[in-house]
């Protein structure tokens, strides 16, 4: 066991953790919007809109995240038309390509989590609101959304952890995130076990934090 290497690589790995956290927070932020939008579309009564939202979540949940990143990073660059638009400023950066792929992916999972949360709301609650003469818009914002958020917390916590692990794929499109730097150190020193312990430890610590924060929120919002 090479303890010196472990201590020396710690600052480099911690530096890379900043990128991992940036990727995670931005993709979760955009993913939440996408997820909410598609959850609402899924509950739409129009069969075409409904099918479209279902198709979106089916495709993104049924294919590996790696394929999604590669399509966006390598694939979209091939479209001549895109290269001439403003979008190209974003799409030529591996950083934003990774975030787009992550956000679309976590959006698909989030939409499923939110949809099932909305569906488990007891009809009686909505009926009670109606009978009190509350408009359906306010019922949605003041009754359905708060309950759905509480219901979806445990599943969403798992999704955050899955996404945290998912950000490691950014290293496949040249980004030096925690996994990317870990791989670099491994391939230059050939000490995989030591680096795995340090990098894995950082990941585990982050998972632990997410897990406990969600537990805390669950207790806070329980009724």
């Amino acid at each position: 066991m090479d303890f010196e290497l472990m201590i020396n690589s710690l600052p480099k790995l911690l530096n890379a953790t900043v990128i991992t956290l940036k990727l995670l927070s931005l993709s979760l932020f955009f993913g939440l919007f996408i997820g909410f939008l598609f959850a609402v579309l899924r509950m739409n009564k129009n069969p075409i809109i409904n099918k479209f939202a279902y198709g979106y979540s089916y495709v993104f949940r049924g294919t590996p995240l790696l394929v999604q990143i590669f399509i966006i990073y390598y694939g979209l660059g091939q479209v001549e038309y895109l290269r001439s638009t403003v979008l190209w400023v974003i799409l030529k950066e591996p950083y934003w390509c990774a975030i787009i792929a992550f956000a679309l992916n976590t959006g698909a999972y989030t939409s499923e989590i939110l949809r099932s949360a909305f569906q488990t709301i007891k009809l009686g609650m909505i009926e009670a609101g109606k009978s009190l003469g509350i408009s359906s818009k306010i019922i949605f914002y003041k009754i359905q959304i708060p309950i759905a958020i509480r219901q979806s917390l445990p599943a969403y916590g798992n999704e955050i952890i899955l996404m945290l692990k998912g950000t490691s794929l950014a290293s496949t499109v040249t980004l030096m995130d925690l996994t990317g730097v870990a791989k670099y150190i491994i391939s230059t020193t050939f000490k995989p076990i030591e680096v795995f312990i340090v990098a894995g430890g950082i990941y585990l610590f982050m998972t632990f934090l997410v897990h406990n924060t969600i537990k805390y929120l669950e207790r806070k919002f329980s009724y």
Partner: protein, 230 residues
Amino acid sequence: MELLAFGKTGWGDELFYATLMTLAVSVTAMLIGFFFALIFTPLKLSKNKFLNLIGNFYTTVIRGVPELLVIYLFFFGGSGTIMFVASMFGYFEYIEINAFITGSFAIGIISGAYSTEVFRGAIQSIDKGQFEASKVLGIKKHIQFYKVILPQMLRLAIPNLSNVWQITLKDTSLISVTGLVEIMRQSYIAAGSTRDPLFFYSFAAVLYLLLTYFSMKLINKLELKYSRGY
């Protein structure tokens, strides 16, 4: 479409074999995972604190660390470890292990952690009365497991195992970083030589969708079979 032709002109046959490779790795990894689950589920359910700790350590570490990192550990560490063991037996030549074996093993260990959780949950949700009743009837311990607990456990576990299968199938795409020619790697090669990444990666996505779709159909049938009588 001529890009997908079989034979020397297209990539059809290469992608077909790559799909078979993905399936082979997934099935092998799933079986290795079951093997790990077989060891670690009893540990997690054990009343012994120390054994419990080992079981929890395995599932927590593997489920909390990115799959890619585990794969790098095996890819870079695998041959080193084997050479170290071999050197103790007086063999000092360079040993390279097959990418298929390292890959299936890495994915298998990950899949095993998820399977362990599924089996643990399934066993815990079997009614306590079932254990007691079979004990009262004087059924031997191992027969109790095979004839009473296992059939009920499978019924409870199959829906969740189908999730594990999906995760495992998608995780195999990560082995492409080690150079094993499965769907992702083959698409990467094809995209590089034809300069048409959009088409090949989209086609890879379609292949994965087909694999998940048809395997789900199959698993649903199994689910029906095991839920007879309920």
